[in-house]
């Protein structure tokens, strides 16, 4: 329960650090236990062709527990196709995908979500006509209990999980600067707030692994920086595993523990930022010229 020391006009008077710590504690309670070590997601020798176009050729990658992993490459490199394969929207022609130790190569996205894998999309995929709170609550769908009638009639058990989820939603709202906007429709908010809703929603489903597909696309420099900072802080504080596609190489270098570089459907380099930064093939393929990334 969020304990509030409020002013007469309802403003919470506690220090931001105190409120943040409380929000994180609520969210930690809401989320399943995070994986502490090893790989949470592993793709082995994945290939995928669309007609005559070989979108992915023999790609292998690992996302480590409690780490931020980057997936970069120029446009058309196959990053989004790889995300779709990892997330279950696309079944690979060959190769396997395993999440949390289970083979999920042919599993649907909603089965993978139940294991703790969630994602965001390049463009905003939120319900514009729903309030911020409802959009976030959609993320908590898997954590709620109650069949059709129990949920609609709000039986004590169903209502109790709904109430806990709403508390987690308020915590996420606070952490992502959405708190005063909970009852506002998502459609009237600026693009940056909509991105934060999508990230918050992906956390609330009991996420242990979050795939972020170009989280900062469409944002200006300050908004992008703020968003990546929030993501990194949440990743560290909650011990999440994050796989991020990001066009801005320096952002990836700064925030990732491990980076995979794709070019024309093939993996040309992988390793920690220090290795990738100095790889001549990456510089050539990614930037098209000889300069440091």
């Amino acid at each position: 329960m969020i304990t509030q020391r409020t002013s007469p006009d309802g403003v919470d008077l506690r220090a931001p650090e105190e409120r943040r710590a409380e929000a994180l504690a609520i969210l930690e309670d809401h989320l399943p236990e995070q994986v502490k070590s090893g790989a949470v997601l592993e793709a082995r020798n994945v290939s995928k062709a669309f007609g005559g176009l070989q979108a992915l050729s023999d790609i292998s990658l690992q996302v480590g527990a409690a780490q931020t992993t980057g997936l970069i490459g120029p446009n058309g490199a196959g990053k989004s196709t790889m995300f779709d394969v990892l997330n279950g929207f696309t079944i690979p022609d060959t190769g396997t995908v395993s999440a949390f130790g289970q083979d999920v190569t042919r599993s649907s996205p909603w089965v993978r979500a139940k294991l703790g894998m969630s994602r965001t999309f390049q463009a905003n995929h939120i319900a514009m006509n729903m309030s911020v709170e409802e959009n976030l609550l959609i993320g908590a769908h898997l954590c709620l209990e109650g069949g059709l009638f129990q949920a609609a009639l709000r039986t004590p058990k169903a209502y109790s999980t709904e109430r806990s989820a709403r508390e987690a939603v308020r915590a996420v709202g606070y952490l992502l600067d959405l708190e005063p906007l909970m009852t506002v429709r998502a459609g009237v908010l600026d693009f940056g707030s909509q991105r934060r809703i999508e990230i918050g929603r992906s956390l609330l489903g009991g996420a242990r692994l979050v795939l972020l597909d170009e989280a900062t696309a469409g944002l200006d420099a300050v908004e992008a920086h703020g968003l990546l900072e929030l993501v990194k802080r949440l990743q560290i504080d909650l011990g999440l595993a994050v796989l991020i596609i990001e066009h801005h190489v320096r952002s990836v270098m700064n925030m990732c523990d491990m980076i995979y570089v794709l070019d024309q459907g093939t993996l040309i380099c992988s390793g920690p930022p220090s290795v990738v930064r100095n790889d001549p093939q990456v510089r050539e393929a990614y930037l098209g010229e000889e300069r440091s990334v």
């Binding site: 729903m130 769908h141 949920a151 489903g205």
Partner: protein, 360 residues
């Protein structure tokens, strides 16, 4: 007392924060008072409009919330009309109203389920063709069965009687149908605000994102068809006693499916009460305007489909709701701009390179 308060507190969010409390009171007063102050013709029309509303609410769930479409809704209502009517009639099964109504509902839900299975994996034009196919098939089979529809002979159906209360008079039947409509709206409101309602709406809005959140789009699309079928069944079961005999099948042919579809499209998909208002307008306007000239309900429906599509998913109720909530939302947006507790100091955080990168 505290326990009752605690139970009631679970349901407070069923009332929209955008609609003032007095609007609910006025709506209730008009709905209850209507049957007491107007002639039986208008009471009858009110009852017919409420039944049409129940059927149209099914389409609101299917089209507006589930993002699907059905051109067989009139056929489902008609099927329930004739099946439950036959079950009620003395020359049929002679069942009591509730049992006969349940049979009509089960058949309508069954047919809807049958359509939902392939449509869950189809989209757009294919669903329209499939449901239109069902509409025509039902028209040529169930509706042409004189045993069910009563043929040219006059078949009489008595109105129900529960717990010692007779609903034989037009006014009493009006209140029965009004009660069913209120229960339907309450049930849909609670469903809409539950995890399953949110999931259905999100599947209708963004199938891929819903799947990524652990929501099976197929499951919820099937659910939308089942709810639409159930409401078509309820509307059908209430219809035969209204007319006291099986109505003509012309009321349930394919163009009537478009008429029913026009109601939520005109009203918009955000307001259940909006659907009732549009159903009342579409049903009553032709009679109200009879002294001036002939106004076909289908003309109103055609205009409603055109204008509703032009306005967008919000329909007329969306325009009104936008007006009601714009002030509240503007105030909250202003407040949010003032306080931003987690705002990042771009110059001092470890990711300052990011800002420079973007700035370039």
């Amino acid at each position: 007392m505290n326990q009752i308060k605690s139970i009631l507190s679970r349901y407070t969010d069923a009332f929209s924060p955008n609609v003032p409390w007095w609007a609910y009171v006025v709506a209730a007063a008009v709905a209850i008072g209507w049957a007491g102050v107007v002639s039986t013709t208008w009471v009858f029309l009110g009852t017919a409009a409420f039944i049409t509303s129940i059927a149209a609410l099914g389409l609101l769930v299917l089209v507006g919330w589930g993002g699907e479409v059905s051109l067989a809704h009139a056929a489902l209502v008609g099927t329930a009309v004739y099946i439950s009517g036959y079950a009620m009639r003395n020359d049929g099964f002679g069942w009591p109203f509730l049992a006969a109504g349940l049979l009509g509902l089960v058949v309508a839900v069954g047919l809807s389920a049958l359509v939902s299975l392939p449509t869950a994996k189809l989209s757009g034009i294919y669903v329209m063709v499939l449901t239109l196919g069902l509409q025509v098939t039902i028209e040529r089979t169930i509706f042409t069965n004189s045993k069910l529809s009563g043929g040219v002979e006059s078949r009489y159906v008595t109105r129900p009687r529960f717990l010692g209360i007779s609903f034989d008079s037009d006014r009493a039947y009006y209140y029965l149908v009004l009660a069913v409509l209120v229960l339907t709206i309450a049930a849909l409101t609670l469903f809409r605000r539950s995890r399953h309602g949110r999931a259905l709406l999100f599947v209708g809005t963004d199938r891929r994102a819903a799947a990524a959140m652990g929501i099976s789009p197929y499951r919820y699309k099937i659910l939308a068809f089942l709810i639409a079928g159930a409401l078509a069944g309820i509307a059908g079961a209430l219809t035969t006693p209204l007319y006291r005999s099986p109505p003509t099948s012309l009321q349930y042919i394919s163009v009537q499916s478009l008429f029913l579809l026009a109601i939520p499209v005109t009203a918009g998909f955000e307001s259940l009460v909006g659907v009732v208002v549009v159903a009342l307008v579409f049903t009553m306007t032709p009679h109200a305007a009879a002294s001036i000239g002939e106004v076909s309900p289908l003309i109103l429906a055609g205009a409603g489909l055109t204008i509703g599509t032009y306005i967008g998913p919000g329909g007329f109720s969306g325009v009104l709701l936008d007006f009601l909530r714009s002030k509240r939302e503007s105030a909250l947006l202003g407040m949010a701009r003032e306080e931003n507790p987690n705002e990042v100091d771009v110059e001092s955080t470890p990711l300052t390179g990011v800002a420079q990168e973007h700035a370039r």
